[in-house]
């Protein structure tokens, strides 16, 4: 009532929301056994988990771009029922529990899965391998990129496409020189989202790829194992993941995530 822009109830609820999000992360750092920090961080198992996490998540983000950008373009330009169903299917992994993704991947690519035996014939066996970790990460992470990029493709200025066509540009050329540059901020934001999601992937990974030190045990899986047998290590590794994620957010905040914002509402594509 007194201030027209910040009613007290809204402020209180907002602060409570902020506290709920931030206090558990602060508590994590309060409870980290700092005396174990050196031994846990320098343990070969930790270094292997960190290296595996970074390697697989970067690969997963790369694959998400290679397949996700074309998929986003198909969905953005598609009409009718097929495109509608396609959009729903792409959204599913975002709303499904990741463990369901793992079960589904086993059903498809597992040893007795629908396509698993075929792949095994040509020497591709994904479960219990680092490639399986990447597959699980792509399954849960690529949809974030597709959704982000599709929104940008939809807002590509039709007049610019028409202008490109009138100047004699073919489909591939106008995609490469008009559509894609306009969507670049969204692609970068989508890569960041997909990479972050892949880095944090747990449920689909442990279900589909299993957990083995140095081969498939990424940082989130190492945290989970810690909660089962060594809570101190779980706290240290969790703090490590928070630090890595925070570092990424700080780096991204200034550039890509800001650029990403205007893509969400149906405003013009001229974000740069």
């Amino acid at each position: 009532m007194t201030t027209e822009r910040r009613p007290a109830a809204v402020v209180v609820l907002g602060v409570l929301g902020a506290a709920f999000l931030s206090l558990p992360l602060l508590a994590l750092f309060v409870r980290v056994p700092w005396s174990d920090l050196g031994s846990v961080l320098s343990a070969p198992a930790t270094r292997q988990a960190l290296a595996l996490s970074l390697g697989t998540s970067v690969t997963a983000a790369g694959l998400s771009v290679v397949f996700g950008v074309p998929l986003a373009w198909l969905l953005a330009t598609g009409r009718g029922r097929v495109a509608a169903v396609g959009r729903a299917v792409v959204l599913l992994p975002i709303v499904l529990p990741p463990v369901v993704g793992g079960v589904a991947l086993l059903a498809a690519l597992g040893r007795r899965g629908v396509a698993g035996p075929l792949l095994a014939e040509v020497g591709v066996v994904l479960p219990f391998s680092a490639a399986g970790v990447v597959a699980a990460q792509v399954f849960v992470a690529m949809p974030f990129l597709v959704v982000t990029v599709e929104a940008a493709f939809r807002t590509t200025d039709p007049q610019r496409l028409a202008a490109a066509a009138s100047l004699g540009a073919g489909g591939w050329r106008s995609f490469r020189q008009v559509t894609l540059p306009a969507a670049t901020p969204a692609v970068l934001a989508g890569v960041a989202l997909a990479w972050a999601r892949a880095l944090g992937e747990f449920g689909a990974t442990i279900t589909f790829a299993g957990s083995l030190e140095g081969r498939t045990r990424t940082l989130p899986l190492a945290v989970h194992l810690g909660t089962q047998v060594d809570p101190g290590a779980a706290l240290v590794l969790s703090a490590l993941l928070v630090a890595v994620s925070l570092g990424v957010l700080v780096v991204l905040r200034s550039r890509w995530l800001v650029a990403f914002r205007p893509v969400v509402p149906a405003r013009g594509p001229r974000t740069g």
Binding site: L106, R111, R112, F128, G210, S211, E213, T227, Q228, D230
Partner: protein, 250 residues
């Protein structure tokens, strides 16, 4: 942990209300049993029999790795009884443990999928790199027992994955995604015919123990009468049923 306690508070409220509003009256009680995942199935049958004679008593089983459960108990999880696949997790559960008793023992076998597609014959086959071999992590009972078996026989297994607990490990053998894993005999027998057991060769002297204990509340007050009654039921009446299910005597 937080989720667990929230769930317990919520279900506690619900059953409390049922107790006062319903016909059950003073007999109404809820008991949460934290149980080794490998023991959840036989325990479930004991729970059915225990509840049959006690209307108003509701027993819920929370199956997981005994070590994970012990850590949760030490952290104040709202459990009334703990059934552990070994003594080490009992130690880790800390001061809430009251008079732990060995209620059953079990042997270890190699679990293989139906038809034994990997043609596992002897323990040393688990070192074959062409097989998909699973295990439990060190520090979890099924992992520690298996490590003792391997130490005994001098076999260095070629492990492809470490699953969080015995039930998860058995599930991957059942689905055929794993060719072999060292697991408990009665747990494997209960999963027949989808899972078959291969005798350890050379034979192993490693025996798994299931230990049951009532738990003090996190604030130190004694176990509930229902918890004490359940432990007595499992050690006395339950013993025969466990023998029938293939477990060895304590």
């Amino acid at each position: 942990m937080l989720l667990l306690s929230v769930a317990a508070v919520v279900s506690g409220c619900a059953s409390g209300r049922a107790g006062t509003d319903g016909a059950a009256g003073t007999g109404s009680a809820e008991l949460v049993v934290f149980a080794a995942s490998s023991f959840a199935a036989p325990l479930g049958e004991l729970v059915d029999r225990f509840q049959r004679d006690r209307p108003g008593v509701e027993v819920r089983i929370n199956p997981a790795s005994s070590t994970a459960l012990a850590l949760q108990i030490a952290d104040g999880a709202p459990a009334g009884v703990f059934v552990s696949a070994g003594r080490a997790p009992i130690e880790r559960a800390g001061g809430r443990v009251v008079d732990p008793v060995v209620v059953a023992t079990d042997d270890l076998v190699v679990a293989v999928p139906e038809g034994n597609p990997g043609r596992v014959r002897v323990t040393a086959d688990l070192a074959r790199v062409d097989l998909r071999v699973g295990a439990c992590p060190a520090g979890v009972p099924c992992g520690d027992y298996a490590r003792r078996v391997f130490d005994e026989s001098g076999v260095v297994p070629s492990v492809d994955t470490e699953e969080p607990d015995a039930a998860s490990l058995l599930a991957k053998v059942r689905s055929g995604d794993l060719d072999a894993a060292v697991l408990y005999r009665s747990q494997v027998a209960a999963a027949a015919p989808m899972v078959e057991s291969v005798q350890l060769d050379p034979p192993s002297r490693v025996r798994a123990e299931y230990v049951v204990t009532a738990l003090r509340s996190p604030d130190g007050s004694p176990p509930s009468p229902t918890a004490t009654a359940f432990v007595e039921f499992v050690t006395a009446t339950g013993a025969g049923a466990l023998r029938e299910a293939g477990f060895g005597p304590p």
